[in-house]
Symmetry: C2
Subunit: 82 residues, 2 copies
Amino acid sequence: MQYLADVTVELKSGMLDPEGNTIKRALGHLGYETNDVKTAKKFTIDLDAESFDDARQNVDEMCQKLIANPIIHNYTIDLREA
Amino acid sequence: MQYLADVTVELKSGMLDPEGNTIKRALGHLGYETNDVKTAKKFTIDLDAESFDDARQNVDEMCQKLIANPIIHNYTIDLREA
């Protein structure tokens, strides 16, 4: 079965987000005041697996081993059949 | 009223995604075969606005003027009250 996993990798709270701060400042210069801008990465992974649970476990391992850095990131996985 | 906008900025279909390709290859080296990996950016914007429609229009203008490049990106806005 084919699955699509949307993985969102965010900075843990308290981590500095210089890209977000830069965008907030640049938006201010354009006349758009904001309270805060936070950045994150999204990865859409297309994979084959035996079952939904297998797909979820594989994607979770991918996140732990490569995609996210557990020291600074939280990640969420949104999995669906393709 | 305070609003939170989740803006997702993706590459238009047909655009090369070298970061996604690199992750796909690296996952393969770790033993995880995937069909495809696509990358995107997510921005969470915390802003004040008079109404939901005002907030949406402001965020749309921010995307067009700064956050997305309309030549290579599609973007979606998911807006909610904070």
